[in-house]
């Protein structure tokens, strides 16, 4: 199977660079970083604002949380798009994918709830409390687990990168059936095709 990523030599000009633009590239990894950064920033700003009694930091914490709640909608929708493009056969990778999909929506429910709480505090003119900060820490922990699962999908299994996971048969009809990931050492794509190095 030819890899579509390498089509020529070193890129030396703008025209060549523009020719390599691939609008079908996954956008989920882009939006994921907004969710992670905005949620984590909100918790840090709110904690610092609470500890040092700085209204400007608390305001920043509120706005970044609202930003996260909005941007995460894009994260979710691009994640769904990505999962419809991943021809993953049953196995470890799909177990990770399923857990990642389920936890994504659970995380969003928590994020929505905590954002509503934060808005209610803002409207009532009240500052954040220890209970709120503890809840934000719990939400951030869920986000961390979710990020870990997503990271494993990309860096261990190569989902939407180079297809290191077991693919559905229709994608590699000419190749031998792949070994289960848990019962054999991982083979490079070239070895899978029986080509050695």
């Amino acid at each position: 199977m030819e890899r579509p990523t390498e089509r020529g030599g070193t890129v030396t000009g703008v025209r060549g660079a523009l020719g390599l633009f691939k609008m079908g590239a996954p956008t989920h990894p882009i939006f994921v970083h907004f969710t992670i950064a905005l949620t984590a920033s909100s918790m840090i700003f709110d904690t610092l604002g609470f500890l040092f009694n700085k209204a400007s930091l608390t305001a920043a914490g509120g706005w970044t949380l609202v930003g996260s709640a909005l941007m995460t909608l894009a994260t979710l929708s691009t994640g769904l798009t990505s999962s419809t493009r991943a021809p993953v056969e049953e196995g470890e990778a799909r177990s990770f994918l399923r857990a990642h999909m389920a936890l994504g929506l659970i995380f969003y429910g928590l994020l929505a709830a905590v954002t509503l709480w934060r808005l209610a505090l803002w409207q009532g003119g009240a500052g954040v409390t220890w209970l709120y900060l503890a809840t934000m820490a719990a939400v951030s922990l869920v986000m961390t687990v979710q990020g870990y699962l997503g990271g494993e999908l990309v860096y261990r299994y190569g989902v939407e990168v180079e297809q290191a996971y077991r693919e559905l048969p229709e994608r590699e009809a000419e190749s031998a059936p792949p070994e289960p990931a848990s019962s054999s050492p991982r083979l490079s794509p070239a070895e899978k095709r029986g080509g050695g190095s």
């Binding site: 769904l80 419809t84 993953v88 799909r94 399923r98 999909m101 929506l105 659970i106 429910g109 928590l110």
Partner: protein
């Protein structure tokens, strides 16, 4: 009337929630009716009545002072109530009574026939739209019942229906995952707490109800995630998205729990 929340009155929020819930239930209705090939023309009815409800509820939320928007919301609400009730009759007749075996195979058709209570979700959002329209017009009661009490009663009844339908379908799925008991936990307790608060409001009932409604809100999102996971467990997962959307668990149904809980939370915090 009520306390505004980030610039919107409680009834504007309720109108928006009615629009959002209608959109989600129409998505599931489309999956079910598309799966059966839109065999009857009446299967298009929820999309006409529900579509009008979404547009009119959104319009009433954005221009709450406009009399035409309020009138449109009332008309769309009644249309949705009727369409849902007629749909309930159709689901019952074509999904059970007319099937081979009929009522003798009651449990089978409750599980595998057209979902019996699903059309009543449209009736429920229609009723919610009517309450929102009355609230936006400044009316504090309906048929002698205070709107706050009416909304709590609405949440209790609608949640009970959603729990019953989810219970039947999760029974069909043999409760193969412990999370499938979720709709029978906090939401069920919330039904009783809603009734308790509506009948005898007290300093004890209200905080209990608030906690249970927040848990029900989260249960909705857990359900959305688990239903997505359920689609992923089918052969091919989301790579065969259309097929598994049609054949897997109803994708958006759990969001109704979150939506109904949100209506309850608006009621207890803002009204």
């Amino acid at each position: 009337m009520g306390i505004p929340f980030i610039g919107l009155s409680p009834f504007q929020w309720i109108a928006l929630l009615a629009a959002a819930m209608t959109m989600l239930l129409l998505a599931d209705a489309f999956a079910g009716h598309y799966r059966s090939g839109f065999a009857l023309r009446s299967q298009y009815a929820p999309f006409i009545s529900g579509g009008l409800l979404i547009v009119s509820a959104a319009a009433a939320a954005f221009v709450p002072e406009a009399a035409w928007a309020n009138l449109a919301l009332r008309a769309a609400g009644w249309l949705a109530i009727i369409a849902g009730a007629v749909g309930f009759g159709f689901h019952h007749f074509y999904g059970m009574a007319k099937k081979p075996g009929g009522y003798k195979w009651l449990l089978h058709y409750l599980m595998y026939g057209a979902p019996q209570l699903a059309p009543l979700a449209l009736t429920a959002t229609g009723a919610l739209a009517l309450i929102a329209a009355r609230g936006l017009a400044g009316e504090a009661s309906f048929a002698g019942v205070e709107i706050r009490v009416l909304l709590l009663g609405f949440v209790a009844v609608a949640l009970a229906g959603a729990i019953l339908q989810a219970g039947i379908l999760h029974y069909r799925g043999a409760f193969n995952n412990p999370a499938m008991y979720g709709p029978l936990a906090a939401p069920l307790l919330a039904v009783f707490a809603c009734a308790w608060t509506a009948v005898a409001p007290s300093g004890v009932a209200l905080p209990v109800l608030a906690v249970l409604l927040w848990l029900t809100f989260l249960t909705g999102f857990v359900g959305l995630g688990m239903h997505l996971r359920g689609m992923g467990r089918q052969m091919g997962g989301l790579y065969l998205a259309l097929f598994n959307w049609l054949e897997g668990p109803p994708a958006f149904a759990p969001a109704l729990f979150a939506g109904l809980a949100a209506v309850g939370l608006v009621t207890i915090y803002l009204l």
